[in-house]
């Protein structure tokens, strides 16, 4: 008997829960709008949600938000490519030499819990106030999860697969490319997904902090001009982009790991 995982049926209760969630969110926005219109909230601190929605058009027409989006996306992509190449390579080397893994794995884990983004002034000195500082911040923060998940993925390859490779007299290179790497790929992708999330957070954060680049800089610019509705709209746009990015990564991960 084969067991096939069927997708969970979405019940009517789930739909109504999602509707309640969305409805509550809209009700909250209307409530805030009412509080501002009746003077209970200062519109110079919290702009009305309707004004924020109207500001989106301005962001596209006047603030080059599409160009800024692609700038930030390019930084993320470059950091992602770098972290994939270096992270997987370091992970493979560490997994290949057990002594090295035992010596350094706890260091990599400690590195992951360190507040790396605070080193951005250091990178500003080394690279200057430019995109490389931002990319390096994204790269560094994304590196530990990719290394750790590569080690975990290759170590977790099923013994039977490794033995099949041995029985075919595969060379170490063939064993890696035909058996170990494909088997570890779903786990490695979990690391890349986590790494990309960290990279995006740090890239937008560093852009905001050093006032350079794409979406992060836009928020800083608008805040410094005291363009309240524009600032809120830009923040909403960044949240929207982040959420879409996370959902896309999640879908890609599910595609790689169809059955859990």
């Amino acid at each position: 008997m084969t067991m096939v995982a069927s997708p969970p049926a979405i019940s009517r209760r789930d739909y109504s829960a999602a509707l309640v969630g969305l409805g509550s969110f809209i009700a909250f926005l209307l409530f805030v709008e009412a509080l501002i219109r009746f003077g209970f909230l200062n519109r110079f601190i919290v702009p009305p949600p309707s004004e924020i929605v109207m500001s989106f058009g301005r962001l596209f027409a006047e603030e080059n938000i599409v160009h800024r989006f692609f700038f930030t996306a390019g930084e993320c992509l470059l950091a992602g490519v770098m972290v994939t190449i270096f992270g997987i390579s370091i992970g493979v080397i560490m997994q290949r030499f057990d002594l090295l893994r035992r010596a350094c794995e706890t260091w990599v884990a400690a590195f992951a819990s360190a507040p790396l983004v605070l080193t951005y002034p250091l990178f500003m000195v080394i690279f200057g106030r430019n995109a490389w500082t931002i990319i390096m911040m994204g790269f560094l923060s994304a590196l530990p999860p990719v290394i750790l998940k590569t080690i975990e993925g290759i170590s977790g390859t099923r013994k039977v697969l490794v033995n099949v490779g041995r029985s075919f007299n595969l060379t170490p290179g063939q064993q890696f490319w035909k058996i170990l790497f494909p088997a570890a790929l779903p786990t490695i992708f979990v690391g890349i997904r986590l790494g990309l999330i960290f990279a995006l957070i740090n890239i937008v954060g560093t852009e905001f902090l050093i006032n350079f680049g794409g979406l992060g800089q836009l928020i800083n610019d608008l805040a410094e001009r005291y363009d309240l509705s524009g600032t809120y709209a830009a923040i909403c746009f960044v949240i929207l982009v982040s959420v879409v990015f996370f959902i896309a990564l999640e879908k890609a991960e599910r595609w790689l790991r169809p059955v859990d």
Binding site: A18, S113, L118, G205, A223, V238
Partner: protein
């Protein structure tokens, strides 16, 4: 007999320093030597990579500076307050969502997707709401640590053994008694894990806010060293900060018994 013999043999053969420790020492010495070489090579701009001696001197100067401890106290107070407010709010929301499937389906996706967004972008809003003082830093730290605590507690609550919950109900425990006697003790590890993550996020949020706009705190001191190009001072400050952050993280994990879970 054979086991005893093997043990005795192992005891005799055990080297003074294990291979792992030896390799670690070699790596550390190699990195330090490479650093010193780079410092004197002239390949980078002067003082971008200061000599180890200069960093050591800066470290001693930093640790004997009373002003540093005052700023450390300010940052610690901000992080502590942020963790207390964000952690409590996260705990309450996590308990609510974890205990009610409908509420979880309705609101948890928002938390799940908002959780990993870059919180520093909310700093201009926090300044408008709370001013330029420590309050805005505490607010950003609170916002940063709320999400991991709430999501961990909600997930932890769903993993509680149903038998324990039935035992509570069979004793006719009130909601408060259920929280106090069943939910919280059964969720000690997810809560501590959430607090550990929350602490990391609160630390980053608070310190980044300090680097952006502040006149006290460790973040302010770091950006000051950048402004006056005091590179040994910056390295010293980052080293101390990393040691404190990693140490605090490990301490929270140890207090919560996370080490024991991993071993089991």
């Amino acid at each position: 007999m054979a086991e005893t013999g093997r043990l005795r043999h192992a005891a005799v053969a055990a080297p003074l320093i294990s291979q792992v420790t030896l390799l670690r020492i070699v790596i550390i010495l190699g990195v330090l030597a490479a650093w010193e070489f780079l410092a004197h090579s002239g390949w980078l701009y002067r003082d971008v990579v200061p000599s180890l001696l200069a960093i050591g001197r800066a470290l001693i100067k930093l640790l004997s500076d009373r002003n540093y401890y005052f700023n450390l106290g300010v940052t610690a107070a901000e992080i502590g307050t942020a963790l207390a407010i964000g952690g409590s709010a996260g705990l309450a929301v996590g308990l609510l969502l974890g205990g009610n499937r409908f509420l979880s389906k309705a609101f948890e996706p928002y938390l799940y997707y908002l959780g990993p967004t870059p919180k520093i972008i909310f700093f201009p809003v926090m300044i408008m709401w709370f001013g330029v003082g420590p309050e805005s830093k505490v607010a950003l730290g609170t916002l940063s640590c709320f999400f991991p605590v709430a999501l961990n507690v909600a997930a932890g609550m769903r993993q509680i053994d149903k038998v324990l919950i039935r035992v509570g109900h069979s004793f006719r425990a009130s909601t408060w008694q259920m929280v106090q006697k069943i939910y919280l003790p059964a969720m000690r590890h997810p809560i501590i894990n959430g607090v550990r993550l929350g602490f990391g996020f609160a630390l980053i949020g608070t310190l980044l806010a300090e680097t952006k706009l502040s006149n006290k705190g460790i973040g302010f001191l770091i950006i000051q060293t950048y402004s006056v190009f005091d590179m040994p001072g910056m390295y010293a400050m980052l080293i101390v900060l990393f040691v404190l952050a990693i140490g605090a993280n490990a301490l929270i994990g140890r207090l919560g018994g996370l080490e024991n879970i991993k071993r089991n």
